[in-house]
Point group: C2
Chain length 185, copies 2
Amino acid sequence: MSRWEPDAPGRLQLAAFELYTERGYDQTTVAEIAARAGLTERTFFRHFADKREVLFNGGDRFRATIVDHVLAVPASATTLEVVTAGIQAAGSVFPDRDTIRRRQALLHANPELQERELSKLATLATSISQALRDRGSPATTADLAAETGVAVMRIALTRWIEDPTERPWRTHVNTTMAELRQLTA
Amino acid sequence: MSRWEPDAPGRLQLAAFELYTERGYDQTTVAEIAARAGLTERTFFRHFADKREVLFNGGDRFRATIVDHVLAVPASATTLEVVTAGIQAAGSVFPDRDTIRRRQALLHANPELQERELSKLATLATSISQALRDRGSPATTADLAAETGVAVMRIALTRWIEDPTERPWRTHVNTTMAELRQLTA
């Protein structure tokens, strides 16, 4: 077997996703994930630190997309507009709703996965805050705007995947931001 | 040795705190924590699930204090005023600043502890949201207000422990809430 496996991370992620859903997260081993993907355990560990991490493949790209958009907003925008633009952009790298729905159900059912998700979201908030500082925001404002933005994103995500009329991501972000404004008015 | 140990959880927490600071979290075992506290490992596991959990002793009381205050605010208050009252009340159950400062440094240095902290804060947000629903808030408003409130609390906490002039908790909560209003105006 060649060391080069086309899209090994994606295949491992899909296999893990299927097995966690079929058998449960605790009952699945790395060996089984690798076998389902037609790869070796060694390949698994070349790409992921553990069986939690495989569910977070794509997270760096997600974070980079948000940060890039935060940095690209014209200087005339308010801090909240900048953060909103970043969160809007996240929609461009989401998989389809059904995949996210199943992923969130998995996270919800497994405290270990939930903890890792929260940790990734905290890292995302830190990155957004750093991008806001790079744009010239004071550190205190940057932290507050980033934390608030991530809170809005989480709530908009739940609404988006649960929306029976399937309105677009953008609509849910705007609605949630409008509610935040109303809440603090 | 009697099965009844006065304030065993508090003694174990103090011992864990000292050992994690002196030797590092990874290098400390449950046996060592129990020995330092003058208790058995069995007593440790009667009170805590693992060596992470021992650092979160008091968390239920903290959460209950906030929820009780959220429920006690007069019905005429706005949702944000209600959440602010809950967060203000958290100040009454904080240990002194120096203990919190050392605790936050420990969390910051250990990703495992940080993940558990984030998980506890997510539970806190869920509890605040539930209390707001019990007061009659719609579910969507309750979630958003609770998540935003916890974000404000985290930022106020950092400012409070880092404040060289040692202004009270109440001042930092009010200042951070005022900044949130300005951010979303």
